[in-house]
Symmetry: C2
Subunit: 276 residues, 2 copies
């Protein structure tokens, strides 16, 4: 049993060379992706992820070669082939092979199965450090493959023991490289709604929080983040992750926030029971 | 005889699938490229193109697996294999295969040989139309593979019979999607020096022009371009190409400028005699 991938209608081992070298994803960065995982063997919020993937494809004017139903069948096949109870799926849709290296002819559609990402239980408990970084993602609503700055800054993050970058521009924050940002001011939960990717975990956390906190979605200033009582980030791989340091500045008292840990527990309970 | 490609030390037919699907160029848009061609069978300004490629790689912190001398040998082999007198070479350097989909381990280096791009003699004679587009390229000094907006706008360009986009932001122009911009105000030649890729054809044209015109390199406002006497663009594939329409507005009298055509002739003469 091993991880496999689906590519344009066929299944291959996950480490097979598949892409010809005139693919627009490779030559022109014209590609989008999505990434999600199972809990208890069941894909988490599959409808939400599929709808986001469809939305990204529509905004990049790429036609999807398969329906949601056909894709669900492939996910089941790939999942069965890997022999693991839990698996992560990565969708990649590129502009496809382009004889003129500019115009889309037929997109290439890939689904990779991958081992679950390494967990970070210490980060969830104690919180992580992020580096402020002046940048706003291009076409932020689309989950494009453009992560140039994240890869470029990987060394610097290691050197400074930071886990991620906090994007801010013109005094306003947007998101981390691959996750959304929330702050608590007293017991009000606030998250940015501009220049962000609409995270599925973000949505789930807002749903969970609604019973306990006032939730505001609006532009959030960098200053507000620096002076917040609690800050955390959400993503498919990070769940609800406290942020306790921004550059050299501690958030609040420098410890993971209590309300953050409360939301984290709600999320953990939800996924622990997923599909049951 | 057929076009081949070099990939990490081996030679393959140009349409072979080569890239595994965890390449950082594909998954994260972490890649750069360069593109040049021969005249009279000799690579044009090879030292300049190599130095630009090296510079891009250095700025993206990617190590080049081969020296300029080794690469020159590969170019000669690939050129011989294609059986064509003239050929275009495309270098692509990506972040390589990444088990964690973030950190660079070992770059992938590709050299494709390609047929020369289709010439546009009518465009060179009569000039082209461009669409103004509010955008500035990210990391403009690096020849990254990020051409998202160019591919996204390809339909709109076709619909409006435009050949390219003119990037402008905050009242300042930078470049077209893949080429530099020059204007003439009377007999003064002006080209932007900010947020641009340092084009080799741009450099050659400035060298050629220096004997005949005053040449200024500085920021250029969008307004200056709209009111210029002549506008043209330069690139490896476009040579010296008059721009006669910007959106709905004609440049000057709407005809290719005389000084532009003079520089075009100088460039054509130079490449006609290249290597002789």
């Amino acid at each position: 049993m091993a991880f496999h991938q689906y590519f344009n209608g066929e299944i291959f081992p996950v480490d097979s060379p598949l892409f010809k070298t005139n693919d627009l994803g490779l030559l022109r960065g014209y590609g989008l992706f999505d990434y999600f995982r199972t809990y208890n063997g069941i894909p988490f919020r599959w409808n939400d992820y599929w709808q986001r993937f469809e939305n990204s494809a529509r905004l990049l004017k790429l036609s999807l070669p398969v329906s949601q139903e056909e894709t669900a069948k492939m996910l089941a096949d790939l999942h069965a082939m890997c022999g693991e109870r839990e698996v992560a799926f990565r969708f990649v849709l590129t502009g496809g092979y382009a004889p003129d290296s500019v115009n889309v002819v037929q997109p290439n559609f890939l689904i990779r199965t991958e081992a679950l990402p390494q967990d970070n239980p210490a980060g969830r408990l104690k919180g992580i450090k992020v580096l402020p970084y002046e940048y706003v993602r291009d076409l932020p609503e689309i989950k494009t493959t453009n992560y140039m700055h994240m890869v470029l800054m990987a060394d610097e993050m290691k050197r400074t023991q930071a886990s991620d970058l906090l994007f801010h521009k013109n005094g306003e924050i947007s998101e981390l490289t691959r996750s959304n940002v929330f702050i608590f001011r007293e017991n009000k939960l606030i998250t940015s709604n501009r220049n962000i990717l609409n995270g599925i975990t973000r949505r789930v956390v807002m749903e969970l929080a609604a019973s306990y906190f006032e939730v505001e979605t609006r532009t959030v200033s960098y200053e507000e983040v620096l002076t917040a009582d609690e800050v955390f980030t959400t993503s498919t791989t990070k769940w609800v992750m406290p942020i306790v340091q921004i550059g050299d500045a501690a958030v609040g008292n420098g410890l993971a926030g209590k309300q953050t840990l409360f939301l984290q527990k709600l999320f953990e309970d939800l996924v622990a029971d997923w599909g049951k």
